[in-house]
C-alpha cells in the first residue's frame, strides 16, 4: 500500500477574540488516500471548515495554526511560506466552496475565472488555454460551453454556477479537491446532479476528495470513508458501510439516532441532550462527556486516544478499550 496522499497530524488551530482564545481545532488527525473520497462531518462550529481552510493555508487572520502537521505527498504544508502556498493552491489542491454566487467574481466572464487558474499554473498559449477551458466546461456538463465561456456568472442557475466552480477546481489538474458543503446551497435534484458529477470526475481522473458536509445522507451515498468531528477533534474514522451499520462513538450514534429517516416510521426521535461545548472551554477530557450517557470519571479527566476498532476503524472512546471493539 502506498503512502496516503494527505496526512493531518494533531492539528491545533485557535482564534483569539475579545474574551480569550477560541480553540477551533483541538488536535485533528486524519488521512486521505489517493483517489479516495473522505467525508468530514459534524455540526456547526465543530471545525470542519477550519480543517479544510488549514489544509489550504487559508486560516483567516487573526487565527493561526498553533501546532500539528499537514503532509501532502510527504511535504509539510504548515512549513511553507505564502508564496509556496499560492503555487500549491489550485495546482495541487482544488477548492469548491458552498456558495458559488459569492465565490465567483461577478465582473469576470465564466471563461476568465477558469483561465485565471490555467494561466497561473500551466504554461499554455492563449489558444491552448481557451481550448482547455472549453474541455473543462464540457467535462463538468455545462450545456453550450462556448456561450457560457463568454457569459457571466449571474446569468447561470446555482447548479450551473457550481459546475463552473468545479471546472475551476479541476483547471490545473490537482490530486486533491477540498469541497466544503458543495451542494448545501442547491436543491436536492440539483444536488444529485452535482454529486454524480464529482464522483464521475473522481473515478475518471483519480482525484481524492475531502467532502466537508453536515449531511450524513450525502456521506452515505458518495464517500468511501467518513471522519466525524466533534468540538475540534475527530471522534471516529471509519469506512462508510460499517459506520452506518454500526456507529461506534456515542456521538456518532446520537447523530444517527436523531435523524428522521425516509421509509421508516418512528413516533419519536432521540435527540442528543444538551449543547456543544463552547470553543472557549478547556476540555481536559472527552469533549462529548457532558452529553454522553456512558461517561465516567475517566472521560472527564482524560482525553481518550484513538483506538483501533477493527481493521479500518478508529474511535476516540474509552469504551473501545472496555468493550474490546
Amino acid at each position: 500500500m502506498s503512502a496516503p496522499l494527505l496526512v493531518v497530524e494533531d492539528l491545533h488551530v485557535e482564534f483569539p477574540d475579545e474574551t480569550g482564545m477560541v480553540h477551533a481545532l483541538r488536535g485533528v488527525s486524519l488521512t486521505l488516500d489517493r483517489g479516495e473520497v473522505l467525508g468530514l462531518v459534524g455540526e456547526t462550529g465543530c471545525g470542519k471548515s477550519v480543517t479544510g481552510l488549514s489544509i489550504l493555508g487559508l486560516v483567516p487572520q487573526p487565527g493561526r495554526i498553533k501546532s500539528g502537521r499537514i503532509l501532502l505527498d510527504g511535504q509539510d504544508l504548515t512549513a511553507l511560506d505564502e508564496g509556496d502556498l499560492r503555487k500549491l493552491r489550485g495546482r495541487n489542491i482544488g477548492m469548491i466552496f458552498q456558495d458559488p454566487v459569492t465565490s465567483l467574481n461577478p465582473v469576470f466572464t465564466n471563461g476568465r475565472q477558469v483561465l485565471n487558474v490555467i494561466e497561473r499554473h500551466l504554461h499554455l498559449g492563449r489558444a491552448a488555454a481557451r481550448q482547455r477551458a472549453l474541455e473543462l466546461f464540457v467535462s463538468v456538463g455545462l450545456p453550450d460551453p462556448e456561450a457560457i465561456l463568454e457569459g457571466y456568472p449571474h446569468q447561470l442557475s446555482g447548479g450551473m454556477q457550481q459546475r463552473v466552480m468545479i471546472a475551476m477546481a479541476l483547471a490545473a489538474g490537482p490530486e486533491l479537491i477540498i469541497a466544503d458543503e458543495p451542494t448545501t446551497a442547491v436543491d436536492v435534484t440539483i444536488q444529485a446532479q452535482i454529486l454524480d458529477l464529482l464522483l464521475k470526475l473522481q473515478r475518471e481522473r483519480g482525484i481524492a476528495i475531502l467532502l466537508i458536509t453536515h449531511n450524513l445522507g450525502v456521506v452515505a451515498e458518495t464517500c468511501h470513508r467518513v471522519a466525524v468531528l466533534y468540538a475540534g477533534r475527530v471522534v471516529e474514522e471509519s469506512p462508510v458501510g460499517e459506520f452506518f451499520k454500526e456507529p461506534r462513538h456515542p456521538y456518532s450514534q446520537g447523530l444517527l439516532h436523531s435523524l428522521p429517516r425516509l421509509n421508516q416510521a418512528a413516533d419519536w426521535l432521540t435527540p442528543i441532550p444538551g449543547n456543544v461545548p463552547s470553543g472557549h472551554e478547556d476540555l481536559p477530557g472527552c469533549a462529548f462527556a457532558a452529553r454522553c450517557e456512558y461517561a465516567t470519571d475517566r472521560c472527564w479527566q482524560n482525553q481518550p486516544p484513538m483506538y483501533a476498532a477493527g481493521a479500518a476503524r478508529r474511535v476516540a472512546c474509552f469504551l473501545a478499550e472496555e468493550a474490546g471493539w
Binding site: E43, T44, S157, G159, M160, D187, V188, T189, I190, Q191, A192, Q193, L195, D196, H214, N215, L216, G217, V218, A220, E221, V240, G241, F244, G254, L255, L256, S258, L259, P260, R261, L262, N263, A265, A266, W268, L269, T270, P271, I272, N275
Partner: protein
Amino acid sequence: MTAAAQPLVQVRDLSVFYESGGGFLGGSTRRVRALHNVDLDIPAHQTLGLVGESGCGKTTLGRALLRLVKPAGGQVTIDGVEVLALSGAALRALRREMQIIFQNPIASLSPRLRVRDVVAEPLQTHTPLRGQPLNDRVLELLCMVGMDESHMDRFPHALSGGQAQRVAIARALALNPKFLVLDEPTSALDVSVQAQILNLLQQLQGQFNLTYLLISHDLAVVQYISQRLAVMYLGEIVEEGPPRAIFGEPRHPYTQALLSATPVLDPHLARRRIILSGVVPSAADPPSGCPFHTRCPQVMEQCREVNPPPTQIDADHWASCHLLTK
C-alpha cells in the same frame, strides 16, 4: 379517526402573482406566477407537509393562507371563516387563530427585545393582560417550550439557534392559535437540535390540538411529522396523499425524481437514481401544458399542451399526470 371530519383549512383555486421589474428606473414589469389554482385541505389537529424545491411556491402558499401576501384569486377558509374577504377588526381577530414560525429563528426575533418582551408582545396587543399576570403567562409559555426563568432577560443573540426557535414557538402559541404555518422550522438547526424541536412540535400539537402546515424541503422531516403530504412544482400541487403512499408508491414523475434524489442513510441500498436534466423553468414564463414537462423523463406529446387534471389513485391519494389516465 374519521376521514370525513371537516378540514380546518380549505383552499380552493388559489392563485398568487408577483410583479417584478419596472419600478424606479422604469422598464417592463414581469408577472411571476407563484401559485396556480391550488386546491388543498388540511384536516383539523393534523399536519400537512408541503414539499418542493426552492421557488416552487411553498412559502407563498403558507403566507397566502395567513393573508401575508394578497392572492389574485381563489378561496381560503379557516375554521369556517372566509379569510380572503375579511378586513379590519375581523381580520385582526382571525390573526389570533393563526401563527407562523420562520426558518431563521435569530433573524425572526427582534434583536432589541428581551425574550420576555418577545413573548409578551402578542399578549399586550391582543389581550388585557398586564403586570404580574402577564409575567406569569410569559413564564408559563416559556416553560411549555422547555425554557425557564433564567432565559427571560436574555437578548436573542445570546441564545443558541434551538433556544431561539423555542422562543419563536412560545410567541406563536401565546394567543392559543388553532393553526400554525411552520416554514422550514428546523432548516437552520443542527440535526441533534432539529430532533429536539421536532419532538417539541409533536408534543405541543397533541397538547393543544394544533393544526400544522409544515413547509420543508427535507422529505425525511416531513414524513416524520405529517399525516398528509403535498408535493409542489412550479406553483402547482402535483401529488397529494398520506406519506406512506407517497413514499411507498409515488405516482407523479416529479415525486419519483425528488425521492430518488434524496440521499438516504444506507450506503448499501442500491437504488435507481432518476437524475433530472435541466433546471426548474422560470415562474415568470411557465411552460404550457404540464408544468413538469420540460424536465419529465416520461414526457408525452399531450403533456406539452394540456395540463393534466388531478387523478384519483386511492381514496386519499391523487396526482396530476397524463400517465395515470393513459
